[in-house]
């Protein structure tokens, strides 16, 4: 993997890996996030409760660990749905062109300009009962258009390459061409899109939870912050309640940005030449 040469990619992927591990192994490490310890209510961090407790006497650390699972689940699910739709819309549009492209491209542009957050709000307002799966579905359904646009452009240029044209003339069926010639060339774009979608999903889930759309029964970083807000934790100085989940989201977002930057630097030599190490080395040689 050439991408692993960049330290940004390595650090970003490590952070993401850590949180995925946390989401998978969470129940084994953390305590019961719903257990109410009546003896310690709204306590600041201590040896007994490392991250402190909520107003209901719940352990914030256990909640943060459980929240990783809730948030990552929605993020990954939303990314999977969004990426799938992006592929289904973007690739045929670019590959077939013509009327198929006109129709699909219109659809893509439509979703691109529609204000997504209000739209999700309205839909969620009508749909009663919104567990993590419904939330992920809604986020995925409304968040695929950017990816579809990229994939359309890429498969448009791929489908006019000589090797595809040649195989078309030989009479290879479209399905085979799309699955074995076009898609493998798009894996880089698709994985970047999935990563992007996952972060977007985590952020969107947090936002929707904060707006009170998610079922408050499920535990995620978003519902934690929302609960803290509802109980006026901010105005009562219970900072340990809402700081950890927010930091986790920020860390995941930073990790994804790092990966993106690193990949950009590896694939774009212009960005690579502007790295600090290069500049510093140049300056040293000049002044020597």
């Amino acid at each position: 993997m050439i991408m692993l040469r960049s330290w940004k990619v390595r650090i970003g992927l490590s952070i993401l890996g850590f949180f995925i591990l946390l989401a998978v192994l969470g129940p084994l490490i953390g305590g019961d996030p719903r257990a109410n310890d009546i003896s310690s209510i709204s306590q600041p961090p201590s040896a007994h409760h490392l991250f402190g407790t909520t107003q209901f006497g719940q352990d914030v650390l256990a909640q943060t660990i459980a929240g990783a699972r809730g948030s990552m689940l929605v993020g990954i699910l939303a990314a999977a749905i969004g990426t799938l739709i992006a592929i289904l819309v973007g690739v045929p549009a670019g590959y077939f062109g013509g009327a198929v492209d006109n129709g699909l491209n219109f659809l893509t542009n439509l979703f691109l300009v529609m204000p997504v957050l209000p739209l999700i709000l309205i839909v969620a307002g009508y749909v009663q009962g919104t567990g993590p799966f419904v939330i992920a579905l809604i986020i995925g359904l409304f968040g695929w258009s950017g990816g579809a646009r990229t994939l359309r452009a890429q498969s448009l240029s791929l489908s006019s390459r000589d090797f595809v044209l040649a195989m078309r003339m030989v009479g290879e069926p479209h399905r085979r061409l799309i699955f074995f010639e076009i898609l493998p060339h798009l894996t880089g774009w698709i994985s970047a899109m999935f990563l992007h979608g996952m972060i977007g999903g985590v952020m969107a889930e947090a936002g929707l939870a904060f707006l009170g759309i998610t079922d408050s029964g499920s535990i995620s970083w978003g519902t934690m912050i929302q609960a803290a807000q509802q109980q006026s934790a901010v105005l009562r100085g219970l900072w340990w309640w809402f700081v950890p989940p927010g930091l986790c989201i920020a860390l995941i977002g930073t990790a994804a940005t790092l990966v993106n930057f690193g990949v950009d630097e590896v694939s774009n030599p212009k960005l690579r030449q502007a790295r600090r190490s290069v500049i510093v080395r140049t300056r040293k040689v000049v002044s020597a």
Binding site: Q273, A274, V278, I279, R281, T282, V285
Partner: protein, 324 residues
């Protein structure tokens, strides 16, 4: 005749990795008033690096680590950015390979003349500058109403001629041209070369013309330098270089192009590929591809020695005497 430009021991390194990569190695030459010096070489020979080093336009990770570039006795390498800026375009101009990329796509062609004219002549009014821009375009055969066009509205040949006119806007003494004819067709290429020769006659500027196309230089240049692996391996007048090429590489280069004005002869390419500058071969950089190599070519690096009317760096000519 006095020298406009004296380059001495110019050395440029790329400091990207742990080990610097030497793209220009100990390059020296002189340029007299109104002279056209052709620089020929394959890609990776260091000719593009030479251009940005000569014009002091290099960016990290390229660094000039040694040598002098004397313009009328002033060393450009030692000059500060403000002094350098005053010298730019009024004394030293450049024409880049692709005019499509070299012209700002969102500015009118005329405006790109006007800003440089007014930057170097504060007394020039905006209106006079536009008039002057139209005159300059007229000089290369582009009608005056084109000053209001955007670069993408001009044809490829027009754009290239416009960027030559742009280079002459402030009456420079030296114009560095980086393969200005590669992006246009053969007919346009000949027109442009004829124009460069005519303008040089009228205005008297000197030219460093860099290209991979040796046959083109034979038509255009007074003297020619051949670059290989970051070094000048042979330099001399166009006639002597064509009639009596000494370095095996120059011979190979000459024989790989069809002559423009003489009967066709057999074409021979040079086998192999240019050296990897990150890991240059020991001794003479050309020896892995050289048909005439002999014992020691892979150990000793030959120096550039003068024989008769030109200079060559090859162990076939050990003490500057002619063996062929």
């Amino acid at each position: 005749m006095s020298a406009v430009l004296v380059v001495e021991g110019l050395t440029v390194d790329y400091v990207t990795g742990a080990e610097p990569v030497r793209a220009c190695d100990d390059v020296s030459f002189e340029l007299r008033r109104g002279e056209i010096l052709g620089v020929a070489g394959e890609s990776g020979s260091g000719k593009s690096t030479l251009i940005t080093a000569l014009t002091r336009l290099q960016r990290p990770p390229a660094v000039t680590t040694a040598g002098r570039i004397e313009f009328h006795g002033t060393d450009l390498v030692a000059l500060g950015p403000d002094d350098l800026r005053k010298l730019r375009w009024t004394s030293l101009a450049i024409v880049l390979q692709s005019a499509m990329d070299a012209l700002n796509p969102v500015m009118r062609v005329g405006a790109q003349f006007v800003d440089v004219l007014r930057a170097h002549d504060k007394t020039l009014s905006r209106k006079d500058a536009w008039t002057r821009a139209a005159e300059l375009l007229g000089m290369v055969g582009i009608s005056a109403d084109r000053v209001r066009s955007y670069p993408h509205e001009l044809s490829g040949g027009m754009r290239q001629r416009a960027s030559i006119a742009l280079a002459l806007a402030c009456g420079p003494e030296l114009v560095v041209m980086d393969e200005p004819t590669t992006a246009v067709d053969v007919v346009m290429q000949r027109q442009i070369l004829a124009q460069v020769l005519r303008l040089r006659r009228e205005l008297g500027f000197a030219v460093v013309f860099v290209t991979h196309d040796l046959s083109l230089l034979l038509e255009l240049a007074d003297r020619i330098a051949i670059m290989y692996g970051g070094r000048i391996v042979e330099i001399g007048t166009a006639e002597s270089l064509y009639g009596k090429p000494r370095h095996p590489y120059t011979r190979g280069l000459r024989d790989s192009f069809p002559p423009l004005r003489s009967p066709l002869r057999k074409l021979n390419g040079i086998p192999g590929s240019p050296p990897d500058l990150r890991n240059p071969p020991p001794g003479c950089p050309f020896h892995p591809r050289c048909a005439d190599r002999f014992d020691g070519c892979d150990e000793q690096r030959p120096e550039l020695l003068t024989i008769e009317d030109h200079a060559v760096a090859c162990r076939l000519y050990p003490s500057g005497e002619d063996q062929s």
